[in-house]
């Protein structure tokens, strides 16, 4: 049995989501190979070779792979799929974009967003916004899987695999990259932060997010948001936590002015400790919160920051 893990990266650095996918692969068993597809991503390939349990790294370098567009990724992965019993990628927006294409081309059913590996052919995944957990056994010869990064440990750096260079085939259909508008922040990335503080509609406007940012800076936290806050234009789309946004599972999640709709809970209820600050004591968010504070956020958040300051943060 040989398992292929497709690395998530930005051509410069290996993304931690890859480490989670490698751990999922190790639970399936067999040799693990990692595919690094990109442009000028040599350092990423090196880093992938150091991952625990990785036997080989395949490195494909091409202009068409720079942005990992779906058509090019499909062509590349399908070209080497014959060597593998299972193909895994993190369930990021990149993985979600091309992995279903790979599955369809191989005539197998994709197993999306798995949260556990029961055996080499049986997996657990959330459905209905995480209100039910589905255990499925795949009868396909090859398994094509995306992995929810937050539920698997991150593989460490105990490996020393060699890097082989492979060719990138020409994709059949072509989408063309035009531009990108990436959020820049000095704070940790939302899905990788140990502490996340998120604001909802209760924040009132985008400027008010400054009070969350102050707390975030003290705790080295990432800032997230509910859909309502994103829809209202308070913060960019990539802040959205939830069923159809990002899934996070930090040590500490602080929900501020968020009611706790099932779609939001789906993205954060696996956090270790949850704090809710809301002026409505009936808000559903309190039913999942370890610590609830019924208060006006415009009093409570600055006070929280001041208290942290006092405690030396």
């Amino acid at each position: 049995m040989t398992v292929l893990v497709i690395a998530e990266h930005d051509n410069a650095e290996l993304n931690d989501a890859t480490r989670a996918a490698v751990t999922a692969a190790s639970k399936i068993g067999g040799d693990i190979h990692v595919l690094v597809a990109g442009k000028g991503a040599g350092a990423v390939a090196e880093a992938a070779g150091k991952l625990d349990g990785v036997a080989k790294v395949l490195h494909a370098d091409s202009d068409t792979l720079e942005k990992k567009l779906a058509e090019a990724m499909e062509a590349l992965v399908v070209s080497i799929a014959g060597d593998y019993d299972a193909i895994l990628s993190p369930a990021t927006t990149v993985g979600k974009n091309f992995m279903p294409r790979v599955a369809a081309k191989l005539d197998v059913m994709l197993i999306s967003d798995i949260t556990a590996v029961e055996s080499a052919d049986t997996f657990v995944r959330p459905i209905y916004a995480g209100n039910a957990m589905l255990t499925v056994k795949s009868n396909d010869a090859k398994k094509v899987i995306t992995v929810r990064p937050t539920t698997f440990e991150k593989a460490g750096d105990g490996g020393s695999a060699s890097v082989d260079t492979i060719d990138a085939p020409v994709p059949s259909a072509n989408s063309e990259f035009v531009s990108e508008e990436l959020s820049k922040s000095d704070r940790p990335e939302l899905t990788q932060a140990k502490i996340v503080i998120s604001g909802g509609r209760g924040m009132g406007n985008g400027e008010n997010f400054a009070i969350l940012e102050k707390v975030a800076d003290k705790l080295n936290a990432a800032v997230g948001a509910s859909r309502a806050a994103v829809d209202a234009g308070f913060v960019p789309n990539d802040y959205q936590v939830g069923q159809t946004g990002k899934v996070v599972a930090p040590e500490l999640y602080i929900a501020v002015g968020i009611s706790g709709a099932i779609q939001h809970l789906a993205g954060m209820k696996d956090s270790k400790v949850i704090v809710a600050i809301n002026k409505d004591e009936e808000a559903p968010i309190f039913s999942v919160a370890d610590y609830g504070l019924v208060a006006d956020l415009f009093d409570a958040v600055p006070a929280f920051e001041a208290e942290l300051e006092k405690a030396g943060y």
Partner: protein
């Protein structure tokens, strides 16, 4: 230009489903069903392209039981022109749906297929991409803006790091994200008019597609339960608990 919009009938997004005690699935008896919200966004976008004079015809297709007709009627009442109902009582996986849709696309030759990014029941996020692969077409998933260009479409996509814009030649597949638009409600006169719009009845066999599932359901279980914790009275108490009780700051 003709636009094809696949729409799925799912549990209404406000319903918190319950797992059946025998772990065979979730209890859907007497539960409110609606059009998948992302499909509503797709229908709305198609109608806006028609209103701008860019599209001439909007065909909606749904694969599912008899009641999926209601979902098609909803789309027709919003402003789609005609429907195709591929009837089956089986649960069809995204791969099977994509294969049926391939048959529909070959029969209808649309220039654009607009799907939801995700069905909120199976949460697969797969069908559009699978259809694109089966057709060998380009795709732009998770769209928050769609613009017609001379050769195809310019699409802005919601990605993990922010936004990305792609140019794709037509024919193409686009899947919708939440910020693309706000779907309209159908007016009463339009609901009446929709009753007279045609719906073609088909079966998976008409497209020669084997829909037997590839994934066997072993069980459907309750997610781990999270108990509500305590209410704290003051911010000082909160900081103290986070520091000394939970040890997370």
């Amino acid at each position: 230009m003709k636009i094809l919009v696949p729409v799925k009938r799912v549990v209404d997004y406000n319903v918190k489903v319950r797992v059946k005690p025998d772990q065979s699935g979730v209890d859907l008896a007497n539960v409110k069903m609606s059009m998948n919200p992302f499909c509503e966004i797709a229908v709305e976008e198609a109608i806006r392209l028609k209103e701008k004079g860019i599209a001439e015809e909007i065909v909606v297709v749904s694969i599912g039981p008899a009641q999926a007709q209601e979902t098609i009627r909803t789309a027709l009442a919003m402003g789609a022109d005609r429907g195709i109902h591929v009837t089956t009582d089986e649960t069809v996986e995204p791969l099977g749906v994509a294969k049926i849709l391939k048959g529909v696309v070959e029969a209808e030759s649309p220039e654009l297929v607009l799907l939801g990014k995700q069905a909120i029941d199976d949460d697969s996020n797969a069908t559009g991409q699978m259809l694109a692969a089966l057709m060998g077409w380009p795709q732009a998933t998770f769209a928050s803006e769609v613009e017609k260009t001379d050769s195809g479409f310019k699409v802005t996509r919601e990605i993990d790091g922010g936004l990305q814009t792609l140019a794709i030649p037509s024919p193409a597949i686009v899947t919708t994200d939440l910020r693309l638009n706000e779907p309209r409600y159908a007016s009463l006169p339009n609901i009446m008019k929709a009753k007279r719009k045609p719906i073609d009845a088909k079966t998976p066999d008409d497209y020669g597609v084997d829909i037997s599932p590839r994934l066997e359901v072993v069980k459907v279980s309750e997610p781990p339960k999270r108990e509500a914790g305590v209410k704290v009275e003051t911010v000082a108490e909160l900081v103290d608990k986070l520091k000394n009780e939970a040890g997370v700051i």
